[in-house]
Symmetry: C2
Subunit: 218 residues, 2 copies
């Protein structure tokens, strides 16, 4: 097995996605903790790995660092095809990628640390305003997804069919962050059902933020 | 040729991406204008097409609507392989997808109309604060991309090699929106060079916001 290395942060939703995918593919990676709270991502050492100062970055020996969680998931699926994380048919793949993008692009980037920093300093948000902002976008994203999962014929035991796909990985990565913030969304029964099923699986359990190096203990 | 239909809005960055890809693939689509300023996206008619109330939505006859620009671009590339919009090698594909995600996920979702609505009402932003916010994220996204393009061996005439990829389509879709807002970023020579080359091409020229139905006329 290749000696992959993963630059990550215990609480990062995007790093969580890569951890899950690696485990599902039967791969492992030596993980290096980049403390985003302490600003490690802006240091020269990490900037050499990712000039954009963001985790995750996956190192495949002999190659430039891979960045952006969705691009890394696609890479892993192309280079280690089993088990597949995307359906075989183009329409199914489009549906899974659309669900994933609705969370990775339209939801998560609005609630990341750099946005919190801006809004709670220059933006003048107090803690209550920041929390209302978080709840607004998590609610918009998950209620939109619920409407879709509840009505689409493509929904199965998981977001798409009866096996785990990139869509489930994205969903779980958002739920993991919401839990860190003690945010719960009501009336999303299809999502709740899928989350409960994913939680029974080792790949998701092992990726949990509180189990990672650097996480607060107790 | 299939009778595709595209639900779009003249100013939408995400709809622009699909227009460019369709033209590059030699496809055409009948375009339906959804007036995002007037709230058409929230009407029952469009909600039936996209429950998430967002453009673009691409209709391929006989199939459910395709949504999310990056998922649509991947679908078009899988179903109409020539000319390819992604490189053939997994590492190259990962690089192109990473560049695209840095713009589609980390940059654009922060400056869309629903975020403007929230910040300029509940968020208490005045017009100057909103403009500072826009400039902050466009600058962060494009300066980060410039660092990357200027140093990566993968950069060619375009963002990746010497042919147009999804990365260029994303870059141009962000530049198109910045121009609508009269925002210019200094000291991004590699990006400026690639943008100038893309602008010579019919596919990008035809997708320009001000050339679309519903755009303001002079």
């Amino acid at each position: 097995m290749a000696a992959y290395e993963l630059y990550a942060f215990w609480r990062s939703s995007a790093a969580y996605r890569v951890r899950v995918a690696l485990t599902l593919k039967g791969l492992s990676a030596e993980e290096h903790a980049i403390d985003l709270d302490a600003g490690d991502q802006y240091g020269d050492a990490f900037r050499t790995i990712n000039p954009l100062a963001a985790v995750p970055a996956l190192i495949v020996p002999g190659h430039p660092p891979l960045t952006q969680s969705l691009a890394i998931l696609e890479y892993l699926d192309e280079t280690v095809p089993n088990p597949p994380l995307l359906p075989a048919d183009p329409l199914g793949r489009a549906r899974v990628r659309s669900i994933a993008a609705g969370l990775a692009a339209d939801t998560h980037p609005l609630v990341v640390p750099r946005v919190r920093r801006y809004l709670t300093t220059i933006g003048g948000f107090d803690q209550a305003a920041w929390r209302a902002w978080q709840i607004q976008w998590f609610t918009t994203g998950l209620q939109g997804l619920e409407r879709r999962l509840a009505t689409d014929a493509g929904t199965g035991l998981y977001c798409h069919g009866d096996t785990v796909t990139v869509a489930d990985i994205l969903l779980m990565s958002i739920v993991a962050v919401m839990r860190m913030f003690n945010i719960a969304i009501a009336d999303i029964p299809t999502i709740d059902r899928i989350v409960a099923l994913c939680e029974t699986q080792e790949a998701f359990a092992r990726a949990a933020p509180l189990k990672q190096t650097g996480a607060p203990t107790a």
